[in-house]
């Protein structure tokens, strides 16, 4: 058994920030299924929102976020997010983040969707990457123990309290118990539930699903963000910064079609609005080859594209064969972000004592029904910091939770026998086949436009996939670097989450933010201005509704 007062699971921005803060007062370790610098936070391009500008205000950031959330964000949490933005940006600056600068030497800011001001602090279009690496430097400075390529497999719960984890060390092919006073989940999202996603292969919702299995409450899982601009075919992210720097969306007729959907904000309307607009253009025959539209940067000039969007340019040249300084890029919307997650309070505390969560895995909820660009990176550092602070407090004030030999033996033996599997490496059915059907189903039937009959069908077909999955044997057994075994576990996590997402989407008979029902196209504040809570029951997910915290801004019609 290993022992750490605070165990952070996940080595992206939220996890490393939490670990850094907690390490000031407690013994901390970071467990991550990939090396921390490989985390998908590093792929974030656009920036970190913070009201630093003289004309900008925290008030305005709060309002934009609440409106962007289609009034489902909890306004007390949004206030925390926006109020702590400026100080956390300066804290990162002192850690050594190489921000892009204004002529006066201040941290430069750019416009992203749904914002009233240029508010996103950035480093060219490597914003997530440079902050991730800076936090990693600080982790080295503090000598924080890292368990790289270790997979969380179970939260050990005793008398309703999380007392540690069971983890699987991929390199040494063995299970280990880590006893902790506090476990912070920072495992990110589940983008790989969808066939078309910007997310990395690692983004399989492990933490969310494992928390759900352990009895934690998830919330607002039906709200899935689809990013408007991903390269057609590969779905590699083309940052909203491309539109923030002045890029246009054009249909087959060369028209800037956003004029029909968001005449004021145009291309910088929030992502839910832009993604729907793109699909509508394509559906009504104004796309290219019936599949995609254009993101046009050619009027910006090569110098600006090279200086502000070097990564976007590289990605487009390499993966689409198009230099955006010279020709428009073919783009289509794809899954990008999970608004839902493990329900937490503003200190990262979940419904399970001893378990905290921060970042995309969590639902605090600041994004409500639709997240604004630049707010997720901000969320990782603001709420990572808070979770780290609270976990350290728990470590100092609370006794060690009971972790009995019986609990350890039960977990260890059941996982040993499951992972040993004795399954053939090649089986009649496979995780590959199940994964492919699941991801296509999610993209085709639980995507940008949803309708009751298709959601119902999706729920039924997911249940069949789950039955097929349960008949599989774990492939290959406990061998070093058996990625097929991890794939098998990950597909299991995704199936649990897909069920919750699809059933939540079927249940919510209204349209709000990223959740759009063709059969219920209006927002329905009378019945649905509420969070969706879900807990795992004996016969599957058990749903309930919870109140939204509204402090300053009563819901209004949301136009851009």
């Amino acid at each position: 058994m290993l022992i750490h007062e605070v165990l952070v699971v996940g080595g992206g921005l939220a996890g490393l920030m939490a670990a850094l803060v907690a390490s000031q007062k407690a013994d901390v370790a970071v467990l991550s299924k990939i090396y921390p610098t490989r985390s998908h936070s590093g792929a974030a391009q656009g920036g970190f929102n913070a009201a630093l500008g003289e004309d900008d205000s925290i008030e305005s950031h709060i309002f934009d976020t609440v409106k962007g959330s289609d009034y489902l964000g909890d306004q007390d949490a949004v206030e925390v997010l926006c109020s702590e933005g400026p100080e956390v940006i300066l804290e990162l600056e002192r850690m050594g983040v190489p921000w892009t600068r204004t002529p006066e030497g201040r941290v430069a800011q750019r416009s992203l969707g749904g914002a009233g001001f240029p508010r996103a602090c950035f480093a060219a279009d490597f914003s997530g990457h440079v902050v991730l690496h800076t936090l990693f430097e600080q982790v080295l400075r503090r000598g924080i123990k890292i368990y790289p390529e270790w997979h969380l497999v179970e939260l050990l719960v005793e008398d309703g309290q999380v007392a540690g984890v069971l983890a699987y060390d991929l390199a040494r092919a063995r299970l280990e118990v880590i006893r902790s006073k506090a476990v912070i989940l920072a495992t990110g999202g589940y983008g790989r539930a969808f066939a078309k996603t910007t997310n990395a292969h690692a983004n399989t919702g492990d933490g969310m699903a494992i928390a759900y299995r352990a009895g934690a409450v998830l919330s607002d899982m039906e709200f899935v963000q689809f990013h408007p601009t991903t390269l057609y075919g590969t779905n590699i992210l083309i940052s909203e910064a491309a539109r923030g720097e002045g890029g246009y969306l054009r249909n087959y007729d060369g028209e800037r079609f956003m004029v029909h959907y968001a005449p004021q904000k145009m291309e910088l309307a929030p992502r839910d609005v832009v993604s729907r607009a793109i699909f509508k253009e394509i559906k009504e025959g104004r796309g290219f080859e019936g599949q995609y539209v254009h993101l046009d940067l050619t009027h910006l000039g090569e110098a600006l594209v090279a200086e502000r969007l070097p990564q976007v340019r590289d990605l487009a040249i390499r993966y689409a064969g198009v230099d955006p300084a010279r020709a428009p890029m073919p783009i289509e919307p794809a899954q990008h972000y999970s608004m839902g997650g493990v329900r937490t309070d503003v200190w990262g505390m979940t419904s399970l004592p001893g378990l905290l969560a921060a970042g995309e895995v969590a639902n605090v909820s600041v994004h409500g029904a639709n997240r604004l660009g630049g707010n997720s990176l901000l969320e990782t550092v603001v709420f990572g910091r808070r979770a780290g602070h609270r976990a350290a407090q728990l470590a100092r004030q609370e006794p060690w939770p009971t972790l009995s030999a019986a609990t350890i033996t039960r977990a260890y033996e059941s996982w040993s026998s499951l992972l040993a599997g004795r399954g053939q490496v090649v089986q009649e059915d496979s995780t590959f086949a199940i994964r492919q059907e699941m991801t296509n189903l999610m993209t085709n039937q639980v995507g940008v436009f949803r309708v009751g009959s298709e959601l119902e069908d999706a729920v039924n077909r997911l249940a069949v996939l789950k039955e097929r999955y349960q008949r599989l044997k774990a492939p290959g057994g406990m061998q070093p670097f058996n990625y097929a075994l991890m794939d098998y576990l990950e597909v299991g996590y995704l199936l649990d989450l897909c069920e919750v997402i699809a059933r939540g989407a079927l249940r919510r008979t209204e349209s709000r933010g990223a959740h759009y029902r063709l059969d219920y196209p209006q927002r329905d504040d009378q019945n649905w201005l509420c969070h969706t809570f879900v807990r795992r029951g004996e016969d599957g997910p058990e749903f309930s509704n919870g109140p939204v915290t509204i402090t300053r801004y009563a819901p209004q019609e949301r136009g851009y």
């Binding site: 792929a43 190489p98 600068r101 790289p148 990605l315």
Partner: protein, 217 residues
């Protein structure tokens, strides 16, 4: 088109030494080597290789492609394929092979520790930085710690390139107390440093250009 992947396999639990195994996969020429590898994985789920972002920002899928270190996700089939339709994939040289294409990365991450790999902040720093100075940090800060530069050296010896890039990026940072003293700390003769900086862009998947004036600090 059909492509033959010739993949170096090694399972430390059973094999005497590494061997090559061929996989025939169906890919398009604009697909990546990673796309091809993912297909080979479906044929043999026991095949081990690292991957994550598939957009050249995480650094997981570094390996040796036809004898040249690079990222699988960044290398297009049409640029990798030989005339007879083959691509040979081996683990990164100068790293210990753990299983198939997976190598031991601990020495890479460990090597960073020798260069004090963080900004040692000046007390009087006021959060401002001139944009022309900030621009110099930009390219070296795009290092993804993939290990390709290390693998591409003829004889890395005592020079640990990923750590060098980190050290040089920090030496250029006006917030850092150590600054020019980092060059002494790294114990690399200036002429070797110059050569390293000159050769880096063509070896590095991110094409990192360290401003030459770092040598004059």
């Amino acid at each position: 088109m059909n492509v033959v992947l010739n993949i170096c396999r090694f399972n430390p639990e059973v094999d005497v030494k590494p061997y090559f195994q061929e996989f025939t996969v169906l890919v398009e020429e604009h697909n990546t080597v990673l796309d091809a590898l993912l297909q080979a994985w479906q044929q043999d789920p026991g095949l081990s290789f690292r991957r994550s972002c598939r957009s050249a920002i995480c650094g997981s899928c570094a390996l040796c492609i036809n004898g040249r270190p690079g990222l699988a996700c960044q290398t297009l089939i049409r640029n990798a394929i030989t005339e007879d339709g083959r691509i040979t994939l081996e683990p990164l040289p100068h790293f210990r092979q753990l299983k198939d294409l997976v190598v031991d990365l601990d020495p890479l991450f460990e090597s960073l520790k020798a260069v004090v790999p963080w900004v040692v902040i000046r007390d009087n720093h006021d959060s401002h930085m001139a944009p022309e100075v900030a621009r110099k940090l930009e390219s070296p800060a795009t290092c993804i710690l993939c290990g390709v530069c290390h693998a591409a050296m003829d004889d890395p010896g005592e020079v640990k390139p990923a750590a060098l890039v980190k050290g040089l990026r920090l030496a250029l940072d006006p917030r850092d107390v150590l600054g020019a003293a980092r060059l002494q700390l790294m114990k690399v003769p200036r002429d070797i440093l110059r050569l390293f900086i000159k050769n880096l862009p063509e070896k590095c998947p991110k094409g990192i250009m360290v401003p030459e004036d770092v040598c004059h600090l």
